[in-house]
């Protein structure tokens, strides 16, 4: 099976496309059959000279891409369709294609994890060794199909370096949540919230997620002294988690909440708040675990951002202090931090993400 790398942008202009292009180039240099798939739509830039839309992603002959049908004609590269996945998006059916002639490609792919799984399976039968997923933090669930993730962040997300780095730390902590023990995996196919007791008994309650006190009450009624693991196939809202931490802590002490993956926690969108709650819950003997861990292996940073100038009625390009950004981010994270633009030929990121392949 090919190695799947998810590239996650935290906002527009954080360097996600730059990171993808870098990884594609590295893969090409090493002659690794590499595929790119998007889970949304990587829109085109408008060419300043011609005012025509211009795709951003350049792909070489021999590379592969999964994209929606309507995007084939928008691409300047010559693409040969290999298979049709049957998965539909607003831009047509998702197809897999091989680049016959290099050029620019518009990438738009399956918009759900199930579609992405299908694409990964299609590629694995074509000899592709490495698949890059072009993703975004606002659509994190499909990216949980990856084997490893790299986050692209920068001043476009937040021009306050302290806040930006703390947020990335919170995100990393969520990705570092321990996996649940083997016995809890018995519940992995459950469609609703399931409770595994010490005696091996599994109960279900008829909801998939916990949003409010009503849902909490439903859970509480089902919890018993012997209940050990609570598997939540959906989400727990931040508000609900706060209630757990304050009002119901005694009832759910010594129990573990298990989520399918870190995405089910990040999808709510408040990584810093969640990350703060986790140690608090742990101190109350409420464990947060995940079934499948997808490691966040590295972060790329972009010090540039666009600021609106009312006087000039246009956006102007600004930058935070790139050395300070890199220094602070590196200090706060236990994983490597890269500034791709500065080290364009730096192979370390690629090697880190593809250790078993090179």
């Amino acid at each position: 099976m090919p190695r799947v790398i998810g590239v996650v942008g935290t906002a527009k202009n954080t360097g996600k496309t730059t990171t993808i292009l870098h990884l594609l180039r590295q893969g090409h240099i090493k002659n690794i059959p590499i595929a790119l798939v998007g889970i949304g739509y990587d829109g085109e830039d408008i060419d300043n000279v011609t005012r025509l839309p211009k795709p951003r992603i350049f792909m070489e002959k021999g590379m592969f891409v999964a994209t929606s049908e309507k995007c084939l004609e928008l691409s300047t590269a010559e693409l040969r369709v290999i298979s049709r996945t049957g998965f539909m998006t607003p831009l047509g059916e998702v197809v897999t294609a091989k680049i016959e002639d290099p050029g620019l490609v518009v990438v738009s792919g399956p918009n759900q994890a199930v579609g992405l799984r299908g694409v990964i399976e299609e590629f694995s039968s074509t000899g592709v060794a490495l698949i890059l997923i072009d993703g975004s933090i606002n659509r994190i669930i499909p990216l949980m199909e990856a084997d490893v993730l790299v986050f692209a962040t920068g001043a476009s997300r937040n021009s306050d370096i302290s806040k930006l780095t703390h947020e990335m730390k919170a995100i990393h902590e969520i990705f570092r949540l321990p996996e649940a023990p083997a016995e809890a995996r018995l519940m992995k196919d459950a469609n609703t919230i399931s409770i595994l007791s010490l005696n091996g008994e599994i109960q279900s309650i008829p909801i998939t997620s916990i949003y409010d006190s009503q849902d909490i009450e439903l859970l509480n009624q089902a919890l018993r002294k012997e209940s050990r693991y609570v598997y939540i196939p959906g989400i727990v809202s931040l508000g609900a988690l706060k209630i757990f931490a304050s009002e119901f802590s005694s009832r759910i002490a010594s129990k573990a909440f298990i989520f399918p993956n870190a995405g089910h926690i990040l999808a709510e969108g408040h990584p810093c708040d969640f990350a703060q709650l986790i140690p608090l819950l742990e101190s109350l003997e409420i464990e947060i675990r995940i079934l499948r861990s997808v490691p966040l292996a590295a972060v790329t940073i972009n010090p540039f951002y666009a600021r609106w100038s009312p006087q000039e009625t246009k956006y102007i390009s600004c930058a935070v202090n790139k050395k300070e950004l890199e220094r602070t981010m590196s200090a706060i994270l236990p994983i490597p931090v890269f500034n791709i633009k500065e080290g364009a030929s730096d192979r370390r990121l690629f090697e880190l993400l593809t250790t078993s392949l090179c």
């Binding site: 998006t89 607003p90 998939t208």
Partner: protein, 606 residues
Amino acid sequence: MPLDPVHDLGLRLIKKALDEAGHKTILLPPDLSLDEILKRAAEQKHLDYILVSRTIGYGAAEILARFMDLAEATGLRKKTKIAVGGMGIDVKLAAELGFDAGFPSTTTPDQALSYIENRGRLFQNSRQTRIIRNKTDLTKGFSYKFHQDRTQQLLEDIADQILSWAKNKTSPGIERARIKEEILLCEKKGRSSDSSKIKHLRTRYLDLCDPEIAHSYLGQNLPSRTWKIPAQRVKNFQRHIRKLCSQLTLRNPIFLSQNPRLFVQIGSGSPLMDIVHMKICEAWGADGVITICPSSSARHEGLLNGLLNHEGDGTLLTFQNLLLIKKFMAKGTLWGIRAHRGLNSPEAVLYAGLAKADLTKLNFFYGSLGAGTDPARLVVDTLESIRLSAKFGIPFDVPSNDELGGIPTPMSFAGLLVMTKVALRLGAKPILKPLFCYSPWIILNEYMLDNYVDFNAAKIKALRAIVDAPLWVGEPAGFMTHTEDRIQSAVTTALHIELARSLAVQAVTIASTDEAYSRGVINLNPRLDSMKAVEATHRFLGQNQISPSPKADIWAEYLISKIDEILSSARERKDFIRCLHEGIFGGPNEGVYPGRAGRNTIREKA
């Protein structure tokens, strides 16, 4: 479900459409949190679709994307399709945010319903919302009955005089039309055995043409400012326009199912540019097109041949030009070809018939008194043209643009009525075309000093009181009320057309805002200026009417009595051609003179 606190009107309209179609819908209140929405969705046993409405603003895209992420995390996407619509939404943004479908703010409730009922298959191609227009027969339902016996009798007697005078007469124009018909039919059959026959017929045809036409017929020595269109350009044009047309949708006609039908006049000098104008006018709501040919071509015996460009006030009337225009015409578009002036009237109607046009234009009063053709010649030719129009089943309109030359309305209308009667006698179907105009006679008599409403209404009332026949306000509506100012021009056009609609006429011809610009070709965008103005004015009035004051009735009666006097004088004269020369239908007193082109070219049939 609206994610925006205020704007859920679009959703309410869609809900109404879905409810009426029998679907079970729940409209969530605006401003719910994502968690609240997801919980409500989870509580539904069966939930096939969620429609999200959002006005795009700062941070909106992130919220929408997060909603889709949460929908996937909570398992909602396994059973439910989720679509987004509203301001700033397009298919690409919907794809970026992970939705199953995206609808722009122009989406109608019907289109949303269609998405739901097609089980989530999106009508990506706007051709699926193409409106098929059916052609209207403008003459349908009219009895052509004259309400006053006296008028009926006057017209019968005049028609008798005309028909008996013309009985055995023929002209080069008539003979050319007959020969040309044979040529075109032979060419259509395409048999090589006919080639010498065609050659022979062509020689006979050219013998009846003016020398400059004869010399240019085969494409060499073309008259000045006339060129053959290069074959490669035609090829490229066809390919390019086909590509652009593939995305063409026809809008609803501006007046939907009610009258009047809206016509545009197109004659740029090139059939290629005419086609571009025609396609865009069709898309923007025109029901019909009238092809305008140059006034100069009316003075020559014979029509040129081939795909030809002409720098001047119209597109040359060649059969090939017409066929090319027809090729690109939408199925539902009505098409008129003029034949009311000059020495080629029968041939023009022949072309109209064989090129499958829907309408032609004939009026020997206007053509001889306002447009330079010899009265006797034009009468003879026009009678043949009327017979041809009946043979091909093409109605013709009878224009009254002679008013613009100074002819009083009653004289012009008397002419319209004579033409109508003659047409009926020959089995044809005429459409009367009064002009809504600020003409010299109207100015001199101060009939429109206060407003443009009353006297124009009087015209319609008068004609209606005389005969039950279709009426078409042209050409164009509001003639001489336009200035070069775009806004003024668009507004005056729109109001004249609303007046025409209020008076329940069958058709109108619309000017562009270039109407008063005489130094160049009518451009495309000015055509759309006027159409937009008509659309906006009609949106304002809807079914309401512009109502004339009682003055309109007084003037209508005046017009009727004057028409009566004129028809009586004409009958008394007992020599119709002399009537035309002596000014009974307009003469030197009014500033018009009988035409001379084609004088002394009539002869007795063999």
